[in-house]
């Protein structure tokens, strides 16, 4: 087959796409199911907004009380100099990420690290990568698992927000249960690789057994104030995976997978 770029290509491709969907008849629209799930999601967002507002009120109250307590007859003390603003200081608290290190080390002569970042509000610069800007105003959250090998962020070609997933607040039950192999080459199938799991509740650790018998164990960490978890191990170049086991806090085996390589 040898097709040249010509004006005929477009109608031909359109016809081919029409043929591809021909015969696929979707089931009736699950309007009720979508509405029910949408309402539940909306209710969760409203609850989260109320909690965030309450936290702000408490924070302001906590600042006000000590300031009020300064009143008295003593000589006026000079106010402290304002701190030099930095981007983190300038950003409202809700836009600052909550971070936790899931693991780091050195392997194959290079360093690696994985950090979990939770953004309570979708950062404005990420809005274009996810829902439209309207969602940023509505407070959509973001969970990111930042993976580095040799100071190079995996998937950096996909932009600043590669490795991030939109979530609904700090306790979105949809996040969890995924695993992946990541690397800088061949989409995680060769070279030094990171096995990164965002396990569901109850998983305290994971062990990856390699073809040479080595057992690598990662402990589950949780981003503070959230239910977003992560455990990670680094796979040396040239090694393949025999099994991936996950354990609960009592070291009881919860799951075993043998399809990873």
């Amino acid at each position: 087959m040898n097709l040249d770029l010509d004006p005929d290509d477009e109608p031909r491709l359109r016809a081919a796409l029409a043929r591809a969907v021909d015969g696929y008849v979707p089931p009736p629209a699950p309007v009720d199911r979508v509405l029910a799930a949408g309402r539940a999601r909306k209710a969760r967002r409203r609850r989260a907004a109320v909690l965030a507002a309450a936290a702000c009120v408490l924070a302001v109250a906590g600042l006000t009380v000590p300031l009020a307590g300064r009143g008295g007859d003593g000589p006026a003390r000079p106010l402290p100099s304002p701190a030099v603003p930095t981007p983190e200081h300038v950003r409202p608290p809700a836009e600052r990420p909550v971070t936790v290190s899931a693991g780091h080390g050195a392997l194959d002569g290079t360093t690696w690290s994985v950090t979990v970042e939770y953004y309570p509000q979708l950062p404005p610069s990420a809005a274009a990568d996810f829902l439209s800007g309207a969602s940023a105003a509505a407070g959509t959250s973001l969970i990111c698992r930042r993976m580095f090998i040799g100071h190079v962020q995996i998937d950096h070609q996909a932009g600043l927000w590669a490795g991030c997933t939109e979530v609904d607040g700090a306790r979105d039950p949809r996040d969890g249960g995924d695993e992946g192999l990541w690397g800088l080459h061949d989409k995680g199938t060769s070279g030094t690789r990171l096995f990164v799991a965002d396990p569901g509740p109850g998983i305290a650790s994971g062990t990856v057994t390699l073809d040479d018998g080595t057992a690598l164990t990662g402990q589950t960490v949780t981003a503070p104030g959230t239910t977003y978890r992560c455990w990670v191990v680094a796979i040396p170049d040239g090694r393949t995976i025999v099994s991936v086991d996950q354990y609960d806090a009592r070291h009881h085996l919860v799951s075993r997978e043998t399809e990873w390589r």
Binding site: D9, P26, R39, F130, L131, E166
Partner: protein
Amino acid sequence: MHSSDRRAAADGPDPDTDADQDAEFSLFVAARWRALTHTAYLLTGDFHEAEDLVQSTLVKVFPHWRRVRPETAEQYVRRALVNTNRSRYRRRRVVHLLLPSLPDTPATRGPAAGDDRDALLRALADLPERQRAVVVLRYWDDLAAEEVAATLGCSVGTVKSQASRALAKLRAHPALADHPLPSGLGDPR
């Protein structure tokens, strides 16, 4: 309800406004479900995933529906669909690479496997995610390059270059060479 009314409504629960919003959203879902599912099918290559993708997209969109203007609702939902698919694609791509036995092509309820339609789906599946989205939006949803650019959040030039590269890859794809499409892209000239 007009969009400005929706935006003017208070953010707090308002039974009347919520009921209007629900009714409007339900109408949209009922009217656009089939078209969205077809788009999702071409994006994912699997009808189960297509239906899941459209459902999860609509659930995500629902809380924002009050802010969506009627004239841009279609584009808004399509953009959410593409972005949700992008997240899904990123999370699963390694699993699919390492598990070739997983069905990446439609199962029995979709078009019959092994025919030229299946070949095109396999060729589409091998395109990078963004190129596939460009092909589906441009040539299936029939959007102008400017609309595709707005949907994907990129420039018109990027859309054109991605479309050109995607067409070149589709032409060279072995699945299409094995399954010439009598009235499609694989048609010998």
